[in-house]
Structure formats: structure tokens, C-alpha cells
């Protein structure tokens, strides 16, 4: 076989190798045999494969993934998986016999129902996002209306998140700050 088509075939089959000609300097006889022998019988197909290139994601993509993970961890997802509490608790009204839902697991600090964990975790992440929005609002390259809306949204998020978190804690731990 003429050398040129061999090198073309070799580089086509082994995807992303470089284009230089390895046979020019090699003195390895096995290498030369391997270059020639199989192609008496086989015809390599013309592929257009490329090795997947590995590009690192941008910092903000990673940050949003991390925020999602943080939300799950702080909502107590490991507690939910291991202890398997119900989504929401229930108690029976003594007089009417009706079943009323109980959102916050009473009596212990280290115990929760699933929904109360998720809602508290959401409040924490909301507070964090609020502070991030406040910082974004100070970026000089945005339109003024966008900056104002970011700033007001940021303040609103932080205030809501703090007030709701305090409310949740007061419900959960009756003797809080007394």
C-alpha cells in the first residue's frame, strides 16, 4: 500500500491523534509491520469521530449547582433518607376526632418532617440569593431600572427570609429566646 493512504487511514481510525507522520523517524520493525499488515485485509471505515473535549464549566454554572446542593443538605435530606419521617405529621383533635396536620415536629431540636425541612432550606437559600442580588445591583454596567429592581428584590428577599426563619424557629422551639 502506498504510504500516504496508510497514514490517512491510521489518523482517521485513531480519532484525535495529531497529524504528524510517525513513520518517518521510527526504527521499530514491529511498528512498520503493524502499519502495513492488517490493511491487506481490512479497510478502515471513514469515520468522523472526535474525542469528546473536556471543557470546564464556568464559575457561575458551578455556583448554581452548589446552591442546589446546599439547599438539599441544609433541608436535612440525609435525615430524611435515613430516618424516613413522614412528609407532614398529624394529630387527632381530642374533641372532634378530626385529623389535623402538624407541620413542625415538636419536642426535639434534631428532628423534622420532610416538608418543614424543605421550606426552611428554601428560606435560607432565599436569604443568600437576596444578598447576591444586592451585590449584583451595584454592578456599574447595568441599566438603572435593572439595578433598582435587583436592589429592592434583594432587600425584600433578605427581610422575608430572616422573618420567616425566625418564625419557624419560634414555632419549633417554644422556649426560644426566653
Amino acid at each position: 500500500m502506498p504510504p500516504k493512504s496508510e497514514t490517512h487511514a491510521a489518523s482517521a481510525t485513531t480519532g484525535g491523534t495529531t497529524q504528524f507522520d510517525p513513520s518517518s523517524n521510527s526504527i521499530d520493525p514491529i511498528f512498520h509491520i503493524l502499519k502495513v499488515l492488517p490493511f491487506f485485509f481490512l479497510r478502515p471505515p471513514r469515520l468522523r469521530l472526535k474525542l469528546p473535549t473536556f471543557t470546564l464549566p464556568s464559575a457561575m454554572t458551578v455556583y448554581s449547582l452548589i446552591l442546589l446542593t446546599y439547599f438539599m443538605v441544609v433541608s436535612g435530606i440525609v435525615y430524611d433518607v435515613i430516618v424516613e419521617p413522614p412528609g407532614i405529621g398529624s394529630t387527632q383533635d381530642r374533641f372532634t376526632g378530626a385529623v389535623r396536620p402538624v407541620v413542625f415536629l415538636p419536642g426535639r431540636v434534631n428532628g423534622q418532617y420532610i416538608i418543614e425541612g424543605l421550606s426552611s432550606g428554601f428560606m435560607f437559600v432565599l436569604g443568600g440569593v437576596g444578598i447576591v442580588l444586592l451585590d449584583l445591583a451595584l454592578d456599574k454596567n447595568r441599566a438603572k431600572s435593572v439595578k433598582v429592581s435587583f436592589a429592592s428584590a434583594g432587600v425584600a428577599f433578605v427581610v422575608i427570609s430572616y422573618v420567616m426563619s425566625m418564625l419557624f424557629v419560634r414555632i419549633k422551639i417554644p422556649g426560644y429566646l426566653r
Partner: protein, 725 residues
Amino acid sequence: MVAKTEKSAVDLLKSPGMTSLFKSLKLKTKQQELLIRVTILFLVYVLAFITRLFSVLRYESMIHEFDPYFNYRVTQFLTQKGFYEFWNWFDSESWYPLGRIVGGTLFPGLMVTAYLIYRTLQFLRFAIHIREVCVLTAPFFASNTTLVAYFFGKELWDSGAGLVAAVLIAICPGYISRSVAGSYDNEGVAIFALLLTFYLFVKAVNTGSLAFALASAFGYFYMVSAWGGYVFIINLIPLYVMVLLITGRYSMRLYVAYNCTYILGMLLAMQIRFVGFQHVQSGEHMAAMGVFFLMQVFYFLDWVKHLLNDPKLFHTFLRITVTCAVGLGAIALGVGTASGYISPWTGRFYSLLDPTYAKDHIPIIASVSEHQPTAWSSFMFDFHILLFLFPAGLYFCFKRLSDATIFIVMYGLTSMYFAGVMVRLILVATPAVCLISAIAVSATIKNLTQLVRAKSKASHSASGKGTISKASSKGSLDQSLPFQRNGAIALLLGAFFLLSRYAIHCTWVTSEAYSSPSIVLAARGAHGNRVIFDDYREAYFWLRQNTPPDAKVMSWWDYGYQITAMGNRTVIVDNNTWNNTHIATVGRAMSSYEDEAYDIMRSLDVDYVLVVFGGVTGYSSDDINKFLWMVRIGGGVFPVIKEPDYLVNGEYRVDKGAAPKMLNCLMYKLSYYRFGEVTTEYGKPPGSQILYLLGMGLSPASTSAYISMVVVKLIFIKNQIWTKS
């Protein structure tokens, strides 16, 4: 007269001599800033110390909980007998009849530290008891941690962030919970060592200095000597190096820092007998070794690249080398694991990666209350507003990525995940959360104060540059400026309000939740007066005074350390829990019928059995409550003990409807022995806690199963008794 008296103090101040004195005292801005910083750090140092003193002020200066009693006993031995005796100590007073090689099975850092402090104080002629030194070691090291946090924050961001980090970590409840005065446990010292090691390593990576890398190795040695949690360091640092390599931040500084730290740290860690050769044999330490070899490969490739000067040839060479290196590493790891030279991950650490593992396979690990997974309220209790500031701080770190911020992000994320798996590990996450939150606070406040101070600068620049102004930004800046300034001031006040609420929360939590000695209990009496129960210590003292010196006491493993330390008697099992079968034997004895239990106790040479019972008052962490764990652990080794035998329809009951096996087992009989007689006294609620100490004077000549038991029962009744009818 009037003219003379007019020469008052004000005139004195205005005289030329005084003004020149004041002028020389007037500091330049840099010196003012230094003075402010030093003052703040000094106040934070004192604050961290005194906020941990609640229980010393309320009760007395004593050691809390269970584990610290062992540490205290070991420290006493060290001060009395010296270091070599301590290093070679074989303790025959615990784990009878096996004994315990104390010198080789503990982390000596804490005891040696307290011993050195004690000797220093004695050298300075302070006649202080070793107990006081032990009680106050943890707050002292907490204060030192705040200083390290300041320097670390300065390294990561700037000195403002360092100051905020120092303040946050001084009062953070997550750290206080394990470092109050009296909590003489490994973590009190270990967190200081952890943060110091990390700070020195990051400084070494930032500067490439050999001195800091070696200092970091010595910090690692201190950490290894102090706590088993050093495994976190030896896995986080290689993970961090991997992330830096992947993101293309390989540099000579990283090479110097990691190699020196790893090699010297590993060699130093092998000096601790408990750790031994684990750094080359255990699966948990293999990541560090793998990354070490990977660094050498990177260095080699860098050198080849420098030699070749041909990018394409180098590219192929790179592929071949990396493939070979990874392949060789995988083969070596496989051969090592298969041949058993590299031991697999131990249960304790494996259950961190797979949280469901302990529940199914290792009940002893699953039974410890500190090892339960974390609910949101525990996070809130221990962190408060740091939970909002943490994601904001992560954002700022991602905005300004550098080698140092990548480290703190990784430390924060891994430690938060582990904190979610196990409540106890909130302690390890606390420094990271405080540092990242400090970055958020510092960056936000800096932005806001820049807005507040921007007015004068903007007006100057507007007048200077004249018409060169972008309509959108400068014009709008001028337009909304007064509004912006007021808004920024309001936001600053809001930020200070949040931080003050944090301080109030932390102080409240410290005072109410984390300052209880656990060995002395307090409750509210009938008239709202405070009632103190010292039953535990009185019971141990009774043991010390009224039993023969070679008596053996059997109890559940929780109380082992306290019995040996305060009661000075030999115990069968204690909190070290190193021998599961021995504990299962005790569990089996507690949950068998009396005759079977008697045989087991005879085989262990038991003279006394100690049982904690709180049924009269509703003290909830007594042995009846822990009984199912005794059944599970006993049943794990002896299949003759089956948990369903003790339950009624899957429910755990102790009243008359309980399962027959439950009603007749040793634990139940001991707990409720002559309980009916106790109920004849009428009293007002709430009552007291009762500890039954039943000593079976077993005469060796007797052969029948129900030995003539000379039951010595001692009831400590503190106040009125509340009876359950």
C-alpha cells in the same frame, strides 16, 4: 480671686506644652487602623474565653459529660507518673478481664497539652490544680482559634474579613458546643490544630514558601496527635490539589507546598502509636499518596515540555504518560487492596460516605446520639444567620477565584455535607462557615460603605472631568445619589441589626443549651425554685467509699469512664467501645432472664451492677430508654437475643402490658425493684431522680441460681417524690 480661678483645666489643656504633646500622640491613619485592629482582636480573644464560662459560674469547675473523664484520668496519671510511664501504660481497671493498652490506643495531644500548660504554670509558681487546667484548656484554645481565623481571613480576602471571621467564630454555637469550660475533649484542641494546619497550608500555596509548608506539616502532626478527625485533613488537601490541577492552576508553589507537607506530615504522623503505619496501609489515606505521585507526574511532564519545545510531540507524550500513570496507579491500588495490604475504609468513616451503612450493619455506631443525621433546626440552632451568609459568601468566592478561595469553598462544601450526615460534625464545618460568611459580610459592608462615601468623590470627579461623562451611569449616579446614600445607610443599619441578633442568639443558645455539665442536672422545683441533682457523683462516691477496692462493676458502656475516674473501680465495658463482643456480652446479660444473666456475670467476676433509672421523675435518658440498643447490640453477636421478643406488636412498652421477656429480664427487674414501695410516699411534682445501685453480695459457696442476694439498695431522694399512680 475670680480671675485666678478662671485659669481652669481648659486653659491648662490649651497651653502650648499640652498641644504639642497631643500632636505627638495624634496617630497617623495606618497607626490608627493598627490600634483598632489590635483592640478588636484583644476584645474578641477575651470574649471567646468568657462566653464559655457559663457552667463554671453556675455550678462549679468540674469536668462534664463522659469522655472527658477518661481524658482527665489519663492527664492525672501523666502528671503523677511522667511521660514514659504514660506512654507504656497498660490499664487493668477497664475492660475487665481484657484490660486496655492506653498508651497505644489514644490520641495523646490533648493530655500532653494540658500537662505542658500545667508545668508552665507551676514553673511560674502558680499552685493550680490539674483539674482547673483541664477545665479551662478548651476555652483557652478557642481564643487561640479566633486569632488563627483572623489570619486565615486576612489570607483569603482582606483584614476586614479576618476581623469579622474572628468575631463570628468566637461566639458561634457550633464551636461552643464542644469547647465550653469543662468539656475536656479532643475537639477542643483539635479544631485549633485543624484551622492552623489549613491556614499554614494555604499560606504555603499562596507564597510557595518552604517554611510555611514545613510549619503546616507540624500543624498536621499536632492535629494527628489530637483527634481521629485528622483523616479529614489528609483527604481534603489532596482533593484540593486535584481540583487545582484540573482547573489548570498547577504551579511550582503548589508543588513545593504539597510535597513538603505530605512527606514530612506523614513521617511525623507515624510517631503516634495509635496511628502507626496507617498512612501507607489504610484505604483512607491512599488519596494523599495517589495525588503525591500525580504531582510528580505533572512535574515530569512540565520538565519534558520545557525540553521538547514542540507542542504536538508533547501532546502525544502527554497522553501516553497520563494513561500509563493512571493505569499503573489503578493496578497498584487493585493489587494492594486485593492482597489485603491496604485495609478498606473503617466503618466509622465509611458511614460518612454512605450514611445508610451504619444503620444496617453497625448498630453501635448508629446508636450514638451524636451520630444521627442533622435536621434543619440543628443547623439553625448552631449557625443562625450564617446559614444565609454562607451561600452569599460562596458567590463572592466564585467571583474572585484564586487558589485560596478555591480552598475555602472546598472546605466549606465538604464539611457542610458531612455536617448534614452527622450532627457531631457541625463542629468541623463551623470554621469554614464562619470564614465564608465573614467574606460575605465584609464584601457587602464594603460595597455599602463605598456607596455612602461615594458622594464627595463623585462630585469632585464630575467637576474635574466636566463633560466627559457616560449618560447612563454618571448621570444616573448624580440623579439617584441622595436616594442611594440614604438607602445604603439604611442597609448598613439593617446589617448591624442582623449581626446583633446573631450575637443575642449565640449567647442565649450557649447559656441554655450548651452549658450543661450532664453529670449534674438542674430542674425547676414545685415553687419554681431551682433544684440541683448531683445523684451521679454521689453514687460514684458511694461506690468509692463503700465497696472493696478490687470490686468489679458492670454497667452499660456509657458510664464506664465516669465509674473508673470518680468511683475508682474496675469496670467491664466503657465508652471506648473497642470490643463489640464484650459489649454484646454485657447487653446479653442485661436482657436475659436473671438465672442466665447470673451465669454470665459470674463468668465476668462481676460484684456490682449499676443501673440508671429515671422512672420516677421522667428523666428520659436512663437505661430503660437505652434498653433496645442493648438488645440490638447483644443480638448482633448472640442470635439468642431477638429484638421482637421484647416488643408488643412492634411497640416498646414497659408497663404491665409489656412482653413477658421484657418483664423478666435483668434490666427491668433491677430498674423496678421494690418500685411499689417507693410509691407509698406522696409528694408534689416534679420530683427527683433516683439512682438505684444494687450490689449483689454473691457468696461463692452458694450453688442455686437464685443466690442469697444481699441486695444493698441505696436511694438518693433529693426533694419530694412524684408518684405515678
